[in-house]
Amino acid sequence: MSTTDHARLRNLTFTGNRGLEMEEPLLFETGRIGVSGVDLDEPDEVESRLGALARAEPLQLAGFSEPEAMRHYVRLSQKNFAIDLGLYPLGSCTMKHNPRLNEKLARLPGFADIHPLQPQSTVQGALGLIEEMCRWLRELTAMPVVAFSPKAGAHGEMCGMMAIKAALDARGETRSIVLVPESAHGTNPATAALLGYKVETIPAREDGTVAAETVREHLSSDVAALMLTNPNTCGLFERDIVEIADAVHQAGAYFYCDGANFNAILGKVRPGDLGVDAMHINLHKTFSTPHGGGGPGSGPVVFSKALAPFVPVPVVEVGEDGLKLLEKRSQTAEQGGQGAQSFGRLTAFHGQFGTFVRALSYMMSCGGEGLRQVSEDAVLSANYLRVCLSDLMSLPFGDKPCMHEVLFDDSFLDGTGLSTLDFAKAMIDEGYHPMTVYFPLVVHGAMLIEPTESESKASLDLFIATLRDLVMAAQNGDKERFTQAPRLAPRRRLDETLAARSPVLRWMPPEAAQGVAQAAE
């Protein structure tokens, strides 16, 4: 389809709608000032106490009838791509199916209609659920303590690193360096930097993993911790991990493991057996709670015995007279167990309770055996893609098994004049959310695909056939299918450079916007 064809298609209808796909303007473009969808009686005469501060002009707010307002948001929601619509192979994000059973349980009134300030005696069931979820996490990780309050993965990283800092403080040591391999998640160096550490990057060896020898070369009495992602962002298991953990501990440092990729090893490997001191778990990835615009994240952190005294409050204490949420450091100090030297509090209250319900629902409906099958199937799916695509696409570390995600580089596009970005955009026309692109940085033009265990073989086969068709089109010189993509989405390809260099973050009336555009030129 040529650009002219597309222009014709766009202008095909009077409304700008295409079939039942609605073109939806901004509220400010369609609303009428003074209109309200709420029909209330005029209030009795009220004397204004605002004096000179009273508005002389009414607010220029766009107004709508109730059905108009409702349609606006429903139409926008229908433009959102979601795991409920199709395969969402965004690498490192674990976009798996969110079972509806989780939602049903989270909406039970005993969970949904309670308040964090209720007396603890009236929410024993909810506290029991938190404790039960933590028990599952302890069992799955072989780590003795869980801090459940962090609200996302990066927040969990910060929680883990703050406990490490507190442990070093308690030893009277000030260490200034955190080691982060180049194949780690991007949030790892950011977390370390936020806590005032200097980040030292550890290069990977030829096969994309970290060598214990290289870690040893970087260790010193000034290293506070190593932050390792396992499996790493190349989708590869760090085989030297036990040796690395030993070396880190010998240097008096702590070992933080980024658990974002836990979906690959669930039920197969327990981080506690590997010598990990702290690891966050993305409930919203591994345990199927909605995320990526669909719901809040939750990043509980599991801790080793060495760090158990330093975990944040609150903690759940199981006593003879029921469950208690210990919310103050004085309380945990008195108990002398987990959190006895707590570094403090990270969040108001206790974290994302609704997400705990969903995660526990998932864990219990899968069961221990089922959770093992989750990781086996996730790894199988990724390897199925690898094997079915390796003749056409290029694997940077050779054709060998990967974990739950498969990483391609852009060398299969050499000579086509097309980039990873072009390839990703063409996937949108085919109805797929693109994979993660240009990450990890260590691989040229990276394309990181994580299919998860949710996809059936039929779904994977269609995806494989689509990618094969795209690769062949690219190699046969059908450039327009890529450089013009997306051609069929509600919007064409945006000028990402212009958007980043001159972002327009505020809506302005058309006349004012024109003035700004002219000034920018």
């Binding site: 240009y438 940085l441 450079t497 980043a500 260099r501």
Partner: protein, 124 residues
């Protein structure tokens, strides 16, 4: 022709008397793609060789820029704030990042000359 040295991480140091003009190489800008933002060091900051000195952000990624040699920052290229595209248009001239007063000339021996850098990038 001015004397220019390069690092393996694609920074350059162009020597102008006691001053070194620091930026990223033309090869680096071509790999990064359109540059959208540059964060520069403050004037007066003392940089050690290899220390994080600046950040360059493109549509693809944000990358650290390291000090190729030690020295004190004497000037930062403020024009990049309004026009980061200068890095793409003229990485090794108008798109320079900052200037430092050279602390230790012998550090230059650890860097590559223009020819050595050219063959280094060809091998990547």
């Amino acid at each position: 022709m001015p004397e220019t040295h390069f690092t393996k991480d694609h920074e350059y140091a162009r020597i102008e008397g006691d001053i070194a003009v620091i930026g990223i190489s033309d090869y680096a800008q071509s790999q990064l793609g359109d540059v959208v933002y540059v964060e520069l060091p403050e004037v007066g900051r003392r940089l050690a060789m290899g220390e994080d000195a600046a950040v360059v952000e493109s549509v693809k990624a944000a990358s650290d820029v390291y000090a190729p040699i030690s020295g004190e920052v004497v000037e930062a290229n403020g024009a990049l704030a309004d026009n980061p595209a200068a890095v793409n248009q003229a990485a090794e001239s108008g798109g320079w990042f900052f200037k430092i007063r050279i602390a230790d000339r012998s550090e230059l021996d650890q860097l590559m000359g223009a020819d050595a850098y050219k063959s280094y990038t060809e091998g990547l």
